[in-house]
């Protein structure tokens, strides 16, 4: 029986009606209690639109809604579904509505205590829930670990051993690919840089401990404290600035741009109407930009509708234009709206030019009307679009952009737009593998661990505790980052001691 409680997203990556996040291990119930609040326990119920199809599948739902147990002391009946919310214990914010079930071992898939949360089938939702579980005591599961535990605990027969091994092999190979893929990014470069600084610090600590008689500068508490806090600040910044972390926390800033009357407002409205859980409704400071915040499949998105950014001689209008330009520049995602019934105008061309090299989704609106496959240049010359299609024309100008055909009027194509936005947030490429997610969430959990250890080390330094004790926390941070880059090796520090210092005793 394992000592650790592991958590992972159990459903396949991508779009689905529901998603399952699963935990296994002795503390599965403990962690569940920390993050799950059954309905009727202090939080107001929003109504019947909780989870699609939940009422039909879960007969215990009504009971749990009526009960008024507090989170934390909540004692679920084994193998019964409960309806409630995933709530972040740090600030009480609601992450998602969901169903939860607790299955004590040995009658569970792994033979250990298992807890499962069924949430909305959105990548962001799974991820947030998983991240919360990790923050509250669970550890990210290794590839194939649930199955491995099931086998080791006698929940699978001998004939299945082969399959378990294949699974471990395949998943570890895949997650390795994926880790390597991610390691090419900025995040990993920065982690390597931070880790190098930690190695440097550990080397100094080691040489101070192991070579007290050598002619080496003493690592004072002042210097040690400074270096720890500088490194920790970098990590905190890193976590905050990593696109995914920031988007999860603050939401994505998307600007809806387009020339007048192209259907921006109706698009905004249809997006807002579609989602009933509008968090805020903040009108912009002027009529020229309006910011709305919605939650799309768990991703908070701040839409800015811009009035227009075409250069104008009119002074009053130009103020609005400046603001729109600002929104355009700040946006992390551009939703560039074209009117497909009119073709591409000179103004559209100008906007597309500005959107070059920016993350963008081009929306060919008014798809309910017949398309005009023409391009109208600034001098009024009309030509046919490339290969006779607006899509191809757009693709030629903005090769990196996603293109969505949509009718804001009928709502046709909206699902496709939402998919495109989610794809953008979750890394651009849809890979139907949960490993991609696990790796990501693992990374953030490991960065968090490193931050926690360094914060400890910082406090201990402040209290002038023994340096060899502080070293333990610094090393734990170093090892956590090493798990991300796959470089944890105990010999590194000693190698570095001999490389950097001239030692003779």
């Amino acid at each position: 029986m394992s000592e650790t409680t592991i958590a992972a997203i159990s459903t396949a990556y991508g779009e689905a009606g529901i998603g399952i996040v699963r935990m296994s291990g002795p503390d599965a119930l403990g962690v569940l209690r920390k993050v799950f609040v059954p309905n009727g326990s202090g939080l107001k119920q929003t109504g019947e639109n909780g989870l699609d199809g939940a009422n039909a599948t879960v007969d215990q739902l009504q009971n749990s809604v009526d009960s008024a147990e507090d989170a934390g002391t909540w004692v679920p009946q084994p193998r019964h579904m409960y309806y409630g919310r995933i709530v972040d214990p740090k600030d009480g914010s609601v992450v998602d509505e969901c169903l939860a079930v607790y299955m004590p071992g040995p009658q569970s898939y792994t033979g250990e205590d298992v807890a499962e949360v069924q949430c909305h089938g959105s990548v962001i939702s799974y991820k947030k829930i998983l991240a919360l579980m990790l923050e509250n005591g669970a550890q990210p599961a290794e590839p194939g670990e649930f199955t491995k535990r099931a086998f080791l605990n006698g929940r699978m027969d001998l004939a299945q051993a082969e399959a378990v091994i294949d699974l471990i092999k395949a998943r570890s190979a895949r997650s390795f690919d994926c880790a390597v893929g991610q390691l090419e990014g900025m995040l990993s470069q920065k982690i390597r840089a931070v880790r190098a600084e930690l190695l440097d610090l550990l080397t100094e600590l080691a040489v101070n401990m192991d070579y007290p008689d050598e002619d080496i500068e003493e690592l004072t508490y002042g210097r040690l404290g400074n270096r720890i806090s500088l490194i920790n600040d970098e990590l905190i910044k890193l976590k905050e600035s990593s696109a995914e972390g920031r988007i999860l926390r603050e939401g994505l800033l998307a600007a809806i741009v387009g020339k007048p009357n192209v259907g921006k407002s109706s698009l905004m409205n249809v997006l807002l109407r579609e989602d009933r859980s509008i968090v805020t409704d903040v009108p912009g400071t002027t009529r020229d930009t309006i910011e709305e915040q919605i939650s799309l499949r768990g991703i908070t998105i701040r839409f800015v509708d811009t009035a227009g950014i075409r250069s104008s001689a009119d002074k009053v209008e130009s103020i609005g234009i400046e603001r729109s330009k600002d929104a355009f520049n700040r946006a992390e995602l551009l939703l560039l709206v074209l009117d497909s019934s009119e073709g591409i105008s000179a103004e559209d061309l100008e906007l597309m030019e500005m959107a070059k090299d920016r993350p963008a989704i081009v929306i060919l609106n008014k798809d309910d009307l017949p398309a005009a496959d023409v391009v109208i240049a600034a001098d009024g010359v009309v030509r046919r679009a490339a290969d006779g299609s607006l899509e191809d024309e757009v693709r030629r100008i903005l090769p990196g952009a996603r293109i969505v055909k949509l009718s804001a009027k009928t709502g046709e194509g909206l699902l496709q737009l939402e998919n495109s936005i989610e794809e953008y947030v979750t890394g651009g490429r849809v890979r139907r593998e949960e490993d991609v997610l696990v790796t990501n969430v693992r990374h953030i959990a490991l960065i968090d661990k490193a931050i926690e250890e360094l914060s400890w080390a910082g406090r201990m330094t402040g209290a002038a505790e023994a340096r060899d004790f502080i070293e333990v926390n610094v090393r734990a941070a170093f090892d956590a980052l090493g798990e991300i880059t796959g470089e944890t090796a105990s010999g590194e520090v000693i190698e570095e001691v001999f490389r950097r210092f001239c030692l003779g005793k």
């Binding site: 000592e3 092999k169 570890s172 080691a206 192991d210 008689d213 002619d215 340096r467 000693i494 001239c502």
Partner: protein, 627 residues
């Protein structure tokens, strides 16, 4: 030459250096008839390099050897001439004792102990072959004279004698350390038997005449006012102490050395062995750290009855004229007269990955190995392995389970696991940073960790055992007393304020007070009139145990996790080559090293976490198939 049988022993120990002495004593004390061979009896427990025992990590090893019933701690306590506790400004886990020894006396005292040990014969003789039976097991040892000793176990601890070659400048001589005869025939015999031999290198600085030095130009380094004993059997060992001295090289020194790089054996290419990076020669220091303006040089007495001084930090393979010339540029050394030139020495050793954790050779039952022969460096590292090899040779003869300490139990465990599981590419030196459970593996609690284990294998004497039980009881009682004794704010606040701490508002227990960084056990005496008289060892244990309880407990929790994987044993007959799912590299490494537990397997380089998962599943599969 005529071969003749000269006797029959349970164990023959080859080499009477620091490893061989501990091995032979352990065997004899465990009741085995033991023969200890040395190529020259002058070499017994000789300190061929620095005249000191202990230091960071190494001091821990000495305490552990002592706690298990070994001799090194007792012997240095008898013969030290200066002692210092290093790292006292740092935490208790890295406090390290280091003592300067009187080399001659260290050798003499150890020889006396060997001579008076029951079941042990110390004998001069050069082993030239180890007789192995068809199954690879040990059945005898042959001497150069043709004398043959039957034995069922052997401990090989040949140090730098095996295939020894000394380099001084351009001169290369086949020699053991300090001009003693090398062991060349045995080196050949082992190679011919198929042992995988390697070549390592080490070096020692020059010795000079004390009267030729001007100590007024150097900084003095005194011993601690109250020296702390190494052995848990000793309490108060105050004695008059010798002085050591510190001086530095300068630009002129460096210029001379650089100008003669070409004459160094090291750079000339004559030396093929791999040297240790932590103890580089002065030419390597200059080569690798060209910007460092000066290098320190400790001048240490080799003993009280000699004028020979040891020049710590200045080992070199430069010819003697260059040595003489560059030493003269160093303050205090202007008229230096060298008595022994510095030299580099190359020797044969095995790849320790061929050994089990018991230090028995994987292919040769009864063949135990220790010290530099295993690729380590240092007297303490050698003694620690000698002790374990000796214990295991005795256990082997009785058909008992081997004695293995793991990484969470002792520095000795870290040392042997590192050597056997990870191997080493240079002479291996112990460092506190190698021990992941350092906060628990302190030198102050080595007896609490190990004396019971030493008693169980039969090495701890009645006297030591009784003393240990009494110390442990005294410690527990004192901890309890400190926990229940309280003082009022008016009693204790003046003390706290005088030490710069924050005053208390309510009554507080003495143990609580002790947890404050500014308050030591000694300082607490001012408000604790009822405290009992306790020995140094007991006081230290009480103080460290209470003061750092939180951290220690956290580490104990980590150890528990570690123990789980160590406890998952791997059957000896497991076939990795046909094991589905392992990557090829892992298959080869696992087959080669044959780890005894899943924990050990996980530390082998080239074995990934996924391989470990596959291994776990395969082990379970095998278990179920068999049941």
């Amino acid at each position: 030459m005529e071969k003749y049988t000269l006797g029959k022993y349970d164990v023959v120990v080859i080499g009477a250096g620091h490893a061989g002495c501990e091995a032979a004593l352990a065997c004899a004390r465990m009741g085995k008839e033991t023969l200890l061979l040395s190529i020259n009896l002058e070499a017994v427990a000789n300190m061929f390099c620095n005249p000191a025992v202990g230091g960071t990590g190494k001091g821990h090893l000495v305490r552990e050897i002592d706690a298990l019933g070994g001799e090194m701690g007792l012997n240095i306590d008898k013969t030290f001439i200066q002692s210092r506790m290093l790292n006292v400004s740092k935490g208790p886990a890295v406090h390290s004792l280091r003592a300067q020894a009187d080399k001659r006396r260290y050798h003499e005292e150890m020889k006396k102990v060997l001579e008076s040990q029951e079941h042990l014969l110390l004998k001069q003789g050069e082993a030239v072959d180890i007789d192995l039976a068809e199954d690879g097991s040990v059945r005898g040892v042959l001497l150069r004279t043709g004398a043959y000793y039957e034995c069922r176990a052997a401990v090989i601890a040949t140090g730098t004698f095996l295939g020894g070659k000394i380099f001084i400048g351009e001169s290369v001589v086949e020699s053991g350390p300090n001009g003693l005869a090398p062991s060349t025939i045995l080196a050949e015999a082992l190679k011919n038997k198929g042992f995988r031999m390697r070549r390592f290198k080490t070096g020692t600085p020059a010795r000079c005449l004390a009267s030729s030095l001007d100590f007024s130009k150097m900084q003095v380094q005194e011993g601690d006012p109250h020296p702390v004993p190494f052995s848990f059997m000793n309490d108060n060992i105050d004695k008059e102490q010798a002085k050591c001295w510190l001086t530095y090289t300068n630009e002129e020194t460096h210029r001379i050395i650089r100008a003669n790089f070409g004459r160094s054996a090291l750079f000339g290419g004559q030396i093929e062995g791999v040297g240790p990076r932590y103890c580089p020669s002065i030419e390597s220091k200059l080569d690798r750290f060209p910007d460092k303006e000066r290098h320190q040089l400790f001048v240490e007495p080799e003993g009280l009855s000699t004028q020979e001084m040891y020049l710590q930090g200045m080992s070199t393979s430069l010819p003697e004229d260059v040595q003489q010339e560059f030493y003269k540029t160093i303050p205090g050394l202007g008229n230096i007269r060298l008595m022994r030139a510095a030299y580099a020495i190359e020797y044969d050793c095995i790849d320790p990955m061929d050994l089990k954790l018991s230090l028995e050779h994987k292919q040769h039952p009864g063949f135990f190995c220790a010290g530099q022969f295993n690729g380590s460096s240092g007297y303490e590292e050698a003694a620690a392995q000698g002790l374990i090899a000796g214990i295991n040779a005795a256990l082997y003869l009785d058909g008992r389970e081997p004695f293995v300490l793991d990484r969470s139990e002792a520095y000795i465990g870290v040392l042997i696991d590192d050597l056997v599981t990870k191997g080493t590419n240079e002479p291996y030196r112990m460092m506190t940073s190698r021990a992941e459970y350092r906060l628990v593996l302190r030198q102050d609690n080595a007896d609490l960790r190990l004396t019971e284990k030493g008693r169980a294998v039969g090495l701890v004497s009645d006297e030591r055992w009784e003393r240990f039980l009494a110390d442990r009881k005294a410690m527990e009682e004192e901890v309890q007393r400190l926990e229940i004794s309280t003082v009022s704010p008016s009693e204790v606040n003046p003390l706290i304020e005088s030490l710069g701490g924050t005053p208390v508002d309510n009554r507080i227990s003495l143990s609580e007070l002790l947890r404050r960084p500014e308050i030591t056990y000694d300082a607490l005496a001012a408000v604790d009139p009822e405290r009992p008289q306790l020995s140094y060892h007991v006081r230290t244990k009480v103080e460290v145990g209470l003061k750092y309880r939180g951290y220690i407990e956290k580490q104990l929790a980590q150890i528990e996790k570690f123990k789980k994987l160590e406890g998952q044993t791997i059957p000896e007959d497991i076939d990795y080559m046909s094991m589905e799912g392992l990557r090829n590299e892992a298959r080869e490494k696992l087959s080669d090293i044959r780890p005894v537990s899943v924990g050990q397997a996980s530390r082998i380089s080239g074995v990934s976490p996924a391989d470990i998962n596959v291994l776990l599943v395969q082990l379970e599969r095998r278990r179920r198939k068999q049941s």
